[in-house]
Symmetry: C2
Subunit: 389 residues, 2 copies
């Protein structure tokens, strides 16, 4: 895998995204889109920075309904934006708490050609605003004749459909994690702790080409993890455990979200039964995920398979989600989600079963929706659990 | 350094934080504090999770003006919260976009003993809200007789002063990074690229005990980096470069923010002069940072030293900041910041000089303010640059 040649995008990639955004702005009656969060800014201008970890200086990108995007960036970030495809950059000497870019943003929005008097921002569903709410309110208060409205639906309509270049980056992230998963039975031994396993796993992700490793969860318990969100413990893995590892590793900004389970020593019949049941349900979900069906349909097919034979279904509220510049993106694979699957959507499909109280079996595979059958990006997990001795 | 014994806090640590928060709520006329961001939730309940990378399910903690905090957590996170010191947990089956915890939050706020009719939230200065703005607006709309106001000033008054246990974690993060900085002249060679150096550096941070490595910047250019916010390039370092590495590495949630510079091959006289000038200014800043003076005073002392002799001052807008559960926290070491330094504040002090256009020399050390002289947490950088051959 030649990683070095794979960073960044051709300028046409960004131009295409802007064109698509502008078509959607027309439909949503917007004069522009104001972006402040790392993933949305990266989506439009391609900048790679970890500087967002500091909340002192907000960054802004304004995508107008016609014409090229404009970056409003604190001076400290100007030089890196000048290396992107963005031509128009305005900046201010920051920190300047009394006006942390506010007046520049108000001026830029006010200068937009006014057709609808509405600008979309990251206010809603599955989004986080990249500036303080008080600053948003100041911007809203200073604008005359322009309303700031929720741009979430537009943003996700746009970002849900991945370009081939985006899919290729997700595939690289998936490949980096997959290579380490394959090594687990070789480097993990009974008696290792969650913490030491996590550290070794992360080291291998790093050396394998990960750009960043925002999430890595390592959980072990007798028969299955009791939960799957927390940090590692010093608990040594022991005969009878199920070891669960899950990572959101990125390549050039794009995530995988990818888990694997390993049997430590011997499994009970109940675990083996649950493992196969989840694996079979997964097959059904992977087959069901085709263009034209809803996310809810995919959930329903897996839920039926999991609940057959009286198994107690526990799905953590959903059985999958979109994937891209964030670890989880819309749609949600849940009964009530009526999003129609379309070619270019990348989905993590993850059936789960709490087969006994506090014992979870959760499988996760990633697919891209095509015109035909969904294409698997992960290497399909084996039906029989890999074993650690 | 025994890392294993150092994770987590005694329950009294959290109780003390709540008591301090409640004293401040009294002063700020608040009936409670609603928290949604990873760092604020971790501050009060101590949970370690990377689950916040997903924006699907918001988490909430409500700290009342009297009594114990309450967690309102999606079901998927309940089991991990049950392992914390928090006794009262309410949860909902998430995702549930039509009510993603909103009604539970409204009910919990409405049940608070009402003295002031005001609850603080993460609306302002150097904060980011951990739920969509539309959800905040729904909460505000559903509350009767309780106003949601900006809690930023309270939050930072509280978090700016670190307990000895917090300082000890920051010191561990600093120590993990410092150990790798000391190894750089041993493992970096002329011809290595920014990307390969970053990867090797990150691997060593990981094996050295880092809990996470949210930021790691590696920049090289002739005579100094042209900027310090972007991702790594495939540029090989060469004779005459200044190699700049900067990391926000965490231990158990607490950050270091720590840079070092290395001369690659030979330095010009101009660079050597700038290096010593910044180092000398740093000495002055480290001496100036004592309890009772303002952040602005520390800035002023360094700025005077840097601008003496006609050097062109460029400070990226400030010369340092607070440090803790976030990479950068208030106060800012800038002329206009009148925050009075107090014992327990942990500050990154970072004088910088753009000694020629596009050539930056930036030094960073971390101190904790005490009753006497500030205590250095980093190992003071040498006045002469370490060399890479």
């Amino acid at each position: 895998m030649d990683l070095e040649a794979s960073y960044g995008f051709a300028p046409t990639e960004f131009e295409d995204r802007v064109v698509r955004a502008q078509r959607l702005m027309e439909l949503h009656h917007l004069d522009g889109l104001l972006l402040t969060s790392m993933d949305n800014i990266r989506y439009f201008i391609g900048v790679d920075s970890t500087f967002w970890e500091s909340y002192t200086r907000p960054w802004f990108v304004l995508v107008p309904a016609t014409g090229a995007p404009l970056a409003i960036i604190p001076e400290i970030g100007r030089a890196i934006i000048e290396k992107t495809w963005i031509k128009e950059i305005r900046s201010w000497s920051s920190p300047r708490p009394e006006d942390e870019g506010t007046s520049l943003v108000v001026a830029a929005i006010s200068d937009l050609p006014r057709r609808h008097g509405r600008v979309g921002a990251e206010l809603g569903f599955e989004l986080r605003l990249g500036m303080p709410v008080t600053q948003l309110n100041a911007i809203i208060g200073d604008l005359k004749g322009v309303e700031i409205v929720d741009g979430a639906s537009l943003i996700w309509q746009l970002r849900m459909i991945k370009s081939p270049a985006e899919v290729s980056k997700i595939k690289k992230a998936v490949g980096i994690a997959g290579a380490v998963y394959a090594q687990v039975p070789g480097f993990v031994k009974i008696g290792d702790t969650e913490r030491t396993i996590l550290r070794e796993f992360r080291g291998r992700l790093n050396m394998g080409g990960a750009s960043a490793i925002p999430t890595l969860i390592c959980r072990s318990d007798v028969g299955g993890p009791f939960e799957i969100t927390g940090g590692p413990r010093n608990r040594p893995i022991a005969d009878g455990d199920l070891l669960f590892i899950d990572t959101g590793t990125t390549f050039d900004g794009y995530f995988c979200d990818y888990d694997r389970n390993y049997q430590v020593g011997r499994a009970t019949d109940a675990l083996r039964y649950a493992q196969e049941k989840v694996w079979d349900a997964h097959e059904i979900g992977l087959q069901a995920a085709t263009a034209g069906v809803t996310a809810g349909f995919v959930f329903e097919q897996m839920a039926k398979a999991l609940s057959s034979g009286g198994a107690d279904l526990n799905s953590n509220g959903r059985m999958g989600h979109g994937l891209g510049l964030r670890l989880t993106e819309p749609p949600s694979i849940r009964l009530e989600d009526n999003t129609v699957l379309q070619p270019g959507m990348v989905l993590c499909i993850e059936p789960a079963l709490e087969y006994e109280p506090g014992k979870i079996v959760l499988h996760e595979e990633t697919v891209v929706i095509t015109d035909g059958k969904a294409q698997l990006l992960t290497v399909r997990a084996p039906k029989q659990l890999a074993q650690i001795r």
